[in-house]
Symmetry: C2
Subunit: 309 residues, 2 copies
């Protein structure tokens, strides 16, 4: 089958690519660990050719999203400011200037400003567009868990507001380098998930009168001192605390009791689904692999790239 | 003058010692960086003799507080459980078994339990006793800022409740190893304090409707991206966020609008005083160096050690 469009999600640590036909169907997929951090001397073009060189022979347009469009990426694509319709993402594309068989286009991220703060996303906007296109989700609350988890509200296809939580990064930091890490097994092997410990942590941080998270984090230590938390339980408890604090703040801010649409990898979605069940919030899970290719295809088509139906 | 009592505060990173006369007056003081982490092969006795050997010749009792009484310290002294009268600290002393000219006694820490959580302190209880003895503070809210900041309530000399916040440790972790550290000057030199940036961070986290701290931490990044926070401002902003989140939670929990008694080092007290002024909370500052020796002396005397008036 002929490749008519190449879609790429190029993040900080990893990247994924899909070869699509003229109707946006996935013909082939590839992934590797050559995220931004792995690219030396700004050799983005060479690295992309290594991953996708044979796909490029057919002259299909390349459409990319994610941190590749950040200041630390290939080319900085200015943010669109929320509130913004997800249908407008194709208006902000920017190209790279390197010589390649086909010019790659990069989708803009989205920024939000208020009096005291600001927030940004790059890549998550395309995942939400994917949910809109494949599931008809034009309204409601979205959750994109991860290193920097995002909660967002969509109204009639317009991204009106969002908040980022450093949940995943804080977990990684505390798990490997803090005084709490000493109470846990060595951090070089993956943690076994302990559901009961996760639930206890989540409940401690999510409850209406729960203390602030910077206090609760210390309880990993004090509970461990008295044998109320074993080393094997401690990582899951810590994860529960951080996700509990995130979900409590996000739901209070979004005043949401409706279904939350969660987009991500299967494993992380399972953890958040467990949390949402304790919180009494219906969670609909969408795997990012399924909805990102149609979103990028749609943006390429709307921007008039290549020969797409 | 004859040394009648030796008081020692032996913490994780540093230790301080005072030689006292028979009325508890300070004759001499010493300090070094031989905290618990610096002691190899449990050579606590030898290390203490290096610091205080000549003081010990006179046979004065040695009274110690701090992490030296923890599981990772010289000998584990069981916690007393709150609520507990600070006058009872002398009832829980434990001795070390090493051969020394004089047996050192270690003051117990205090633990607190509730249905889901637990909390601990070691050393701060003696500092509060010092405030009680030297300033007559038997009631009110106490704040002991630091790596693991403590807020506590004293009622008629009884420590009824307290909470620990990981403020200092979180700052150190995020300042040196996180994605936020990249936005700041190299972490090997001390940060210059930027008052305006601190105030902005504090206000963002302390305000009544402020978002959760795990979101606000990410705004260090997003504000930096748009030039709303410079690299030099970012550490003070981060410090303001963390202290704002701590103070908001502590004051909400303690329902306190009365004067807060803050005990610590001069520099940290100045930062918290700045925060308290924004919060509209009167803060009374006590330097820990001034009030800890009388507290330890009083405990030694109450326990009948040596020849103390």
């Amino acid at each position: 089958m002929t490749i008519r469009c190449i879609a790429v999600d190029w993040g900080t640590s990893n990247r994924r690519a899909w070869a699509l036909d003229g109707a946006g169907r996935v013909i082939a997929r590839r992934a590797d660990d050559q995220g931004l951090l792995a690219i030396k001397d700004r050799a983005f073009a060479a690295s992309l050719q290594t991953l996708l060189g044979d796909w490029m022979d057919e002259g299909a347009p390349i459409i990319m999203c994610g941190m590749v469009g950040s200041r630390l990426g290939w080319v900085e694509v200015p943010y669109l400011n929320a509130p913004v319709s997800l249908a407008e993402l194709g208006n902000g594309l920017k190209t790279t200037s390197d010589s390649l068989p086909e010019t790659p286009y990069i989708v803009p991220g989205i920024a939000r400003f208020d009096a005291a703060g600001a927030d940004v996303m790059r890549g998550e906007e395309c995942q939400m567009l994917g949910a809109l296109l494949t599931q008809g989700k034009r309204d409601g609350i979205f959750l994109l868990p991860g290193t920097h988890a995002k909660w967002a509200r969509l109204e009639a296809g317009v991204l009106t507001d969002f908040r980022t939580y450093m949940t995943g990064e804080l977990f990684a930091q505390l798990r490997k380098g803090s005084s709490l890490a000493q109470l846990m097994p060595p951090a070089d092997a993956p943690d076994l998930f302990d559901g009961d410990a996760f639930d206890r942590g989540f409940t401690a941080a999510f409850a209406g009168d729960s203390p602030g998270i910077t206090h609760l984090l210390f309880t990993v230590r004090s509970l461990s001192l008295f044998g109320r938390l074993t080393p094997d339980e401690a990582p899951s408890y810590l994860s529960g605390l951080l996700i509990g604090a995130e979900m409590k703040d996000a739901l209070s801010w979004l005043k949401g009791h409706e279904t939350v649409t969660a987009i991500g990898s299967a494993k992380l979605l399972e953890t958040y689904d467990r949390a949402a069940r304790i919180a009494g919030i219906p969670l609909e899970r969408l795997e990012s692999d399924d909805i990102l290719p149609p979103a990028l295809f749609s943006i390429a088509r709307a921007a008039g790239l290549g020969d797409l139906r």
